[in-house]
């Protein structure tokens, strides 16, 4: 934990990822979704808000009534489902990314502070974390939305405020364990300024566990955003969001299954890919887990050879 990981060239890392096919696939899907989100105006065949009353509820292309004009069909306003998926990726990733960054930012600062100051500050801050943890997440969003009205920024702020505690706890535990190592103690004894100690000795040790947590939390945010938008308290039309599209497609479930199915699948694909990749990342960055994985692979190989 304390010594920096030996430098591994990217190529070797990729080769290792290639061993884990699901994780490699996950990464590929994530990259595709990110590219789609960034290049949305170029990739999307239509403006997601463009309506055409005459071609509403067109089914996907492989259906008899479908056409190549709208690959995944159109919705109740004649908007192109595929374009909406692409723009929806943008909304989802923006909200997920911003929320995770803000939450991780707050959490890291609080965690560093608590871990470093120790004593009274530590216990007060950690009590605060306890209060936060007992706060009902989605219900708190409902309360805030009830007062302030729905909107993307309300959502980002509330999600950040309800999610920073995980980071604070993680950072605090890393900080307090790092501080007890001889070289940090030594640095403090020779009079290094606390900020210097944090930057030089503690932050590097935080990067890898924080990154893993960030990625895992990202999926929670994606799911939460979708759920809140589905309930009608998150992203508001004319903006697009996968959760919102499932909600508006719900009324047409019987005659237009594609309206609910595709945005739902987009959410599943995103979360699943991230989970697969994060799982690999967690194991790869944790020496103990790496060892276990290696042992399992060897055992499995031996077993296969044995049964063959």
């Amino acid at each position: 934990m304390t010594q920096a990981r030996p430098h591994r060239p990217l190529r070797a890392l990729l080769a290792e990822l290639w061993q884990d096919k699901p994780a490699a696939l996950g990464l590929a899907v994530i990259l595709a979704i990110v590219a789609m989100a960034i290049l949305a105006p170029l990739v999307a065949p239509y403006d997601p808000a463009d309506q055409s009353i005459l071609s509403r509820l067109t089914p996907p292309v492989w259906n008899d009534r479908g056409s190549w004009e709208h690959i995944l069909g159109t919705d109740n306003l004649g908007r192109d489902v595929f374009s909406r998926l692409i723009w929806g990726a943008r909304t989802t990733l923006t909200i997920g990314g911003l929320t995770c960054l803000i939450a991780a930012g707050i959490g890291t600062v609080v965690g560093l502070w608590a871990g470093f100051m120790g004593g009274r500050t530590d216990s007060v801050l950690m009590r605060l974390v306890d209060i936060q943890v007992s706060f009902p997440g989605i219900l708190l969003i409902l309360l805030v939305v009830g007062v302030l009205g729905p909107g993307m920024w309300t959502l980002i702020i509330v999600l950040s405020v309800t999610n920073w505690m995980v980071y604070a706890r993680l950072v605090r535990s890393v900080v307090s364990s790092t501080r007890q190592t001889p070289y940090v103690e030594a640095a403090e004894v020779i009079g290094c300024r606390p900020s210097r100690v944090i930057f030089v000795h503690i932050l590097p040790n935080l990067v890898s566990p924080l990154l893993t947590l960030l990625i895992l939390e990202f999926t929670n945010i994606v799911l939460a955003e979708a759920a809140v938008s589905f309930l009608g308290f998150g992203v508001q039309p004319p903006d697009t969001s996968w959760g919102l599209d499932v909600a508006s497609g719900r009324d047409y479930l019987f005659i237009a299954w594609w309206l609910v199915t595709f945005p739902g699948l987009a959410i599943v694909a995103t979360v699943l890919s991230i989970n697969l990749f994060a799982n690999w990342l967690r194991v790869t960055t944790d020496p103990e887990e790496r060892e276990k994985r290696h042992a399992r692979t060897v055992a499995a190989r031996r077993r296969r050879r044995g049964t063959a």
Partner: protein, 494 residues
């Protein structure tokens, strides 16, 4: 008249059933409604869920035929107007409340006084604001007093449900109602379901369906699923797309009319030529087919409901004429001029679809059209606030009283909350019509008002929307214009 025929046929049907079967099994149906009643007190809230239940438990002095014609209900005949502010009602004989109490003049006086009592702060005062009080003449005769001349008092009395004063004092009106209607309250498991049973001593004869269960299903998609899965017999607000999916459906012209209100003092829309062009530019027939699958009719030159008193039969809608519209915009020197169309989304049937489609038609005239779909509270502010009037704002107007007064005061009268014109002459006519108690003179005034607003293109009327109900295979029912779910008018074929 019609009511008596209905009552007779119901009576005959009952007779026929008892004669033929002898042991006809109890008829029970399940209805899915969008929202649970907030209370079952019939006089406090303006709540659709409450009405959908209480319309079967309670009755009012006046009633309407399914087509919307005002007829006598608990009154024995149409009221007699004694002077400008006094109306006399003679009551129907032999009517009893479900608890056995007689319906008489005391009940009417108590009902009126309870609704208008400021202590009760009733939301229904929006309908009863002009009523000053009620007095008993004799046991079966009552007079109702208004604060000023009020020609629509009879229509108002169709909204006021009659309660038993004794039960109001001692019983639990809010959760175990007692009325005079064809159905009695049975049970209410809050959040789950509500049950009614036929009232055997109903003055109009016992209704055909014996047991009714209401279930509360907020989502239209879920209501439809329940109907398809065979759980419900009647569901409300069926989308036109599903008429071919459900086992059975019924459509009826409803109370809502969609319309754009034009800002006649705004830079671009102050020109009558531009406003006429906006009316000519829309292919309303194509929209009826594409958006509503034909389940809407084109509003004839006004947003006043065709079933309402005061509707002008002589007006017609503008035919689609894009060339003429473009020519008018050029004549007005308005090519490329900005036009902002304000609207909302999700409140009314296909609101956003209508707004966007119309905006697209308008863009073809050469105007530079932008659509501003606002969040609902912001939209309400645009519609009714004190700020500058929008160039064009969408609204689906509805009028339960079926009288032109509310629609004209709201949208045509220059001081009306949603009006965007400054036509003082027309405002005077509307004020005059409000207090004119002679029916013919009043109709003449409205004919003139509606024609004037149409000729000057103060609004762009769109469609009278139809209410569509989904039904199970065994249901027989013709829905009503006033959108009430009257179960005694339904029947079941096995």
């Amino acid at each position: 008249m019609t009511f008596r025929v209905l009552a007779m046929s119901a009576g005959l049907a009952a007779l026929f059933m008892s004669a033929s079967g002898g042991s006809v099994s109890a008829q029970a149906i399940t209805i899915a409604i969008g929202s649970e009643p907030s209370t079952l007190d019939p006089q406090l809230r303006d709540d659709g869920g409450e009405r959908q239940v209480n319309d079967n438990i309670y009755e009012a002095l006046m009633a309407r035929t399914p087509e919307g014609e005002l007829i006598e209900g608990l009154a024995a005949a149409a009221p007699e107007q004694i002077d400008e502010t006094t109306w006399q009602f003679t009551l129907r004989e032999g009517v009893t409340f479900h608890n056995g109490a007689p319906f008489n003049a005391d009940a009417v006086v108590a009902s009126v006084e309870r609704v208008i009592d400021p202590e009760n702060n009733s939301e229904q005062m929006a309908y009863f604001g002009t009523i000053a009080g009620a007095e008993k003449v004799d046991d079966m005769t009552v007079i109702i007093l208004t604060s000023g001349p009020d020609p629509i008092l009879p229509s108002r009395m169709y909204w006021m449900k009659m309660i038993d004063p004794g039960y109001a004092a001692e019983g639990d009106l809010a959760s175990a109602p007692v009325g005079t209607g064809p159905y009695m309250f049975e049970s209410w498991d809050r959040g789950t379901e509500l049950e009614l049973a036929a009232y055997p001593d109903y003055w109009g004869g016992e209704p055909e369906i014996d047991e009714v269960t209401y279930r509360f299903v907020p989502e239209p998609g879920t209501r439809l699923s329940g109907l398809m899965a065979g759980e419900f017999d009647v569901i409300t607000n069926l989308l036109p797309e599903f008429t071919s999916t459900v086992p059975k459906f019924a459509a009826v012209p409803g109370l809502e009319t969609s319309v754009f209100v034009l800002g006649t003092d705004n830079e671009v829309t102050q020109d009558p030529k531009v406003r006429e062009a906006l009316n000519l530019a829309i292919d309303r027939e194509a929209m009826v087919q594409a958006l509503f699958m034909g389940y809407a009719s084109i509003a004839k030159g006004t947003h006043v409901n065709p079933a309402a008193f005061g509707f002008n039969d002589d007006l017609d809608y503008y035919d689609y004429d894009p060339e003429r519209a473009r020519a008018l915009i050029e004549e007005a020197d308005a090519v490329g001029a900005p036009l902002v169309v304000v609207g909302e989304s999700g409140r009314w049937l296909k609101d956003r679809e209508q707004i966007e489609a119309v905006a697209a038609y308008w863009a073809e005239t050469g105007l530079d059209v932008t659509t501003d779909i606002q969040e609902f509270s912001q939209y309400l502010d645009s519609l009714m606030g004190d700020g500058p009037r929008p160039d064009a704002i969408f609204i689906a107007n509805s009028n339960e009283l079926l009288d032109a007064d509310r629609e004209t005061s709201f949208i045509y009268h220059m001081d009306g909350a949603a009006a965007s014109n400054s036509d003082a002459e027309m405002a005077e006519m509307i004020d005059e019509a409000r207090v004119e108690t002679d029916e013919d003179a009043r109709q003449a005034l409205y004919d003139e008002i509606l024609k004037r607003a149409h000729d000057r293109n103060y609004t762009v009327p769109l469609f009278n929307l139809q209410d569509i109900y989904g039904m199970s295979e065994r249901m027989e029912w013709q829905p009503r214009t006033d959108a009430k779910l009257i179960i005694s008018e339904m029947s079941v074929s096995e």
